[in-house]
Amino acid sequence: MSEELKFTYNVDGEDFNSAGQASVSVKKNLRQLGIDPEIIRKVSIAMYEGEINMVIHAHGGTADVFVDDEKIGIVLSDKGPGIADISKAMQEGYSTATDTVRALGFGAGMGLPNMKRYTDYMNIESQIGEGTTITMHVKYQ
C-alpha cells in the first residue's frame, strides 16, 4: 500500500467568487498524479457542488481530499445549520436556498443529487445546529 496523500482547503463562506477555487486546485493536483481525466472531472464536479453548498448554506467549511491507491476521497465539513431532511435534500430540484442566492443562479436543487451521481459512494452526516459532514469516494482503479 502506498502512502496516502491529503490536500486540505478552507472554503470561505458567503464568498461566491472564491467558491470553486478548491476544485480547480484539486484538478491540477490530480492531473499531476496522472489520474484519468474522466475521474478528475467527476471529482471536480462533486467538489464544486459541495463547495457551493458550503458557501450557500453553511458559511463555509473545510474540504479535505484524500488519495489512496484505489480511490479519491472528499470530506466536506461545515459547522452550518445542518440538513433537516436528508432524503428530501437528495431529491432533484429540492432546495432551501434563499431568493438572493437563487437570483445569483444557484439553488437549483441539483447540488446533492449531482454529488451522488458523480461519485461511487456518498455519506451524509448532519446534526441540526451542529453542522454537516459529507464523505464521497470516487474510485480510480
Binding site: 480547480v24 472531472r41 471536480s44 480510480y140
Partner: protein, 431 residues
C-alpha cells in the same frame, strides 16, 4: 510531443534573467537558469505571453521571411483579417489586397473568406443532434493545444474542423489551379500573413495527425512595412474583397461567436480568462451555452504579438471599415457545403497532461507528498529568485531533481544563520 516545433524563442544576448516572462507564463513552462530564460517545449502552448511581457525584447516569434516566397512560381497571400486593422485612414480592404499584389504576390485569398465558410458550417453544426456542447472553436491554435494538455475532457467539445486559414489555403489552391491549369503543386506557395506565433506553430506542426498544407507563415509586421510603401488611395485596385463583415470581424474577440446568430454564446480573450472559462466548463458550471469562442490574445487576433497596432485602436478601425461593408459578399447559406473534405478533422492530438509527476500513480503520490512537505518549508512569497515562477513550482523542480533546495535564497539564508549559530565556538542566542 518532443518533435513539436515551437515558434517562440529566446535571444540569449538580450535576456537579463529578470523573471518577467516566467511570471506571466500560464503553463509554468519557463525557468531562469544562469540568468537566462529557458522554455520547456513540452509545456509551451505558443501563447506569446512571454513575448508580450519581455521588457528587453529578448523573446521572439519565429516565422519565415517574406523573401522566401520568391522561390515559388505562383505566390498566394493569405492575409489574416487582423491585417486590415493595422492602417490608419483605410477606407477599403481592396487597397490592402492590391498592396499585397504589388509587393510580389500573384494572388490573394482573404482568410476572412475561410472564416465565413467556417461560420456557415458552425451554424449548421450547432443544430446537429448528439454533439457535445458547448462547442469550442478551434480557430485559435493555442486553445486547441491547451485543451489537449490541460482539459482533455473537453476534447470532444472542439468543433471537428480545421481553422479558417486551412480552409482558405485549400480553396485558394483550387482556384489558382482553375485559373492556371498549368500550375503544379510545387509551383504554388500559400503564404499566411500571421498576427501571432501560435499560427506559425500550427502551420509547422499541423493538428493531431493532420499536416497543414500552408507553405509559409510570415509576420504581419514585416508585411506591413512592405505594404506601407506601395499602398495607394488614388489608384483603383484591380482586386476586390470577397469577404464581408462576418469574416472581417473574426479579427476581434466576439466576431466568430456573433456570426452564429445565436445568443447562447461566450467569447473570451486573454489566456488567463480563457483558462478560467475552460475550468468552469469542465466543472459543469456553464449550462445553456452552445458555443464558446476563445482567443489567447487580448482583444482577439488584433492583440497578436506580430500585429503592430494597439488592439483597442485596431478594433476601432475595424468598426470603421465594416460600416460600409456588406454582411457577406455572397449569401452565407451558400457556404454551408463549401468546406473541402480535407477541412474536417477527427484526429486530435493525444492527451499529454502538463507536468505529470510519474507514469506510476503510486510513485506520483510519493513525489507529491514530498512536494507538499517541501512547500510548507518554503517561504511562500513566490519571489522567483530561485528561477521557478512560484514556491510550489520550485518544490516540484527540487523533488524531480531539476533544482537544488539551496537555490531558494531565503531557505539558504536561514540555513546559513543556522550554521553560524551552531558553529562550535559561536555564541548562541545572541540574535
Amino acid at each position: 510531443m518532443s518533435t513539436y516545433i515551437h515558434s517562440v524563442s529566446l535571444d540569449a544576448s538580450k535576456c537579463t534573467g529578470c523573471t518577467t516572462c516566467m511570471k506571466h507564463c500560464p503553463t509554468e513552462a519557463i525557468r531562469i537558469k544562469d540568468n537566462c530564460a529557458c522554455i520547456d517545449a513540452q509545456r509551451c502552448i505558443d501563447c506569446a505571453q512571454c513575448i508580450r511581457h519581455c521588457p528587453n525584447h529578448a523573446k521572439k516569434s519565429n516565422y519565415s521571411s517574406l523573401s522566401e516566397i520568391q522561390k515559388y512560381k505562383y505566390k498566394i497571400a493569405l492575409p489574416a483579417p487582423a491585417l486590415m486593422a493595422q492602417f490608419e485612414n483605410l477606407d477599403s480592404v481592396d487597397i490592402v489586397l492590391q498592396g499585397l499584389l504589388d509587393v510580389g504576390f500573384d494572388d490573394v485569398f482573404e482568410v476572412a473568406r475561410g472564416a465565413e465558410i467556417v461560420s456557415a458550417y458552425t451554424r449548421s453544426y450547432l443544430a446537429t443532434p448528439g454533439i457535445k456542447k458547448p462547442v469550442l472553436s478551434t480557430a485559435c491554435p493555442v486553445i486547441a493545444r491547451l485543451v489537449m494538455l490541460r482539459f482533455p475532457f473537453l476534447k470532444d467539445n472542439l468543433i471537428p474542423l480545421l481553422p479558417p486559414i486551412e480552409i482558405a489555403a485549400d480553396l485558394a489552391v483550387k482556384e489558382a489551379k482553375e485559373k492556371h491549369p498549368e500550375l503544379r503543386d510545387e509551383d504554388i506557395c500559400t503564404c499566411f500573413i500571421s498576427p501571432c506565433p501560435a499560427k506559425v506553430s500550427y502551420i509547422k506542426n499541423g493538428f493531431g495527425s493532420y499536416k497543414s498544407k500552408i507553405t509559409l507563415a510570415v509576420s504581419m509586421s514585416e508585411v506591413y512595412m512592405h505594404l506601407l510603401h506601395v499602398m495607394k488611395h488614388d489608384v483603383p485596385a484591380e482586386v476586390s474583397a470577397r469577404a464581408g463583415r462576418v469574416g472581417l470581424s473574426w479579427a476581434m474577440c466576439g466576431g466568430e461567436a456573433s456570426a452564429l446568430l445565436n445568443d447562447k454564446i461566450i467569447a473570451a480573450d486573454g489566456i488567463d480568462n480563457v483558462i478560467s472559462v475552460l475550468d468552469q466548463i469542465e466543472d459543469g458550471n456553464i449550462s445553456n451555452v452552445d458555443f464558446v469562442e476563445l482567443n489567447a490574445c487580448p482583444g482577439g487576433c488584433v492583440g497578436g504579438v506580430m500585429a503592430l497596432e494597439n488592439p483597442f485602436i485596431a478594433k476601432n478601425r475595424l468598426h470603421t471599415i465594416r460600416r460600409y461593408m456588406p454582411v457577406t459578399q455572397e449569401n452565407i447559406k451558400q457556404f454551408e457545403g463549401a468546406i473541402p473534405d480535407s477541412g474536417f478533422t477527427e484526429n486530435l492530438p493525444d492527451y499529454k497532461p502538463l507536468n505529470k509527476l510519474s507514469d506510476n500513480i503510486a510513485e506520483s503520490m510519493r513525489l507529491m507528498n514530498k512536494i507538499q512537505l517541501m512547500c510548507k518549508e518554503l517561504p511562500g512569497i513566490d519571489c522567483g529568485s530561485c528561477g521557478a515562477p512560484n514556491c510550489r513550482a520550485f518544490a516540484e523542480d527540487v523533488v524531480r531533481g531539476l533544482a537544488d533546495r539551496n537555490d531558494c535564497i531565503i531557505a539558504y539564508r536561514d540555513y546559513i544563520k543556522d550554521y553560524i549559530n551552531n558553529y562550535p565556538g559561536s555564541r548562541k542566542n545572541d540574535g
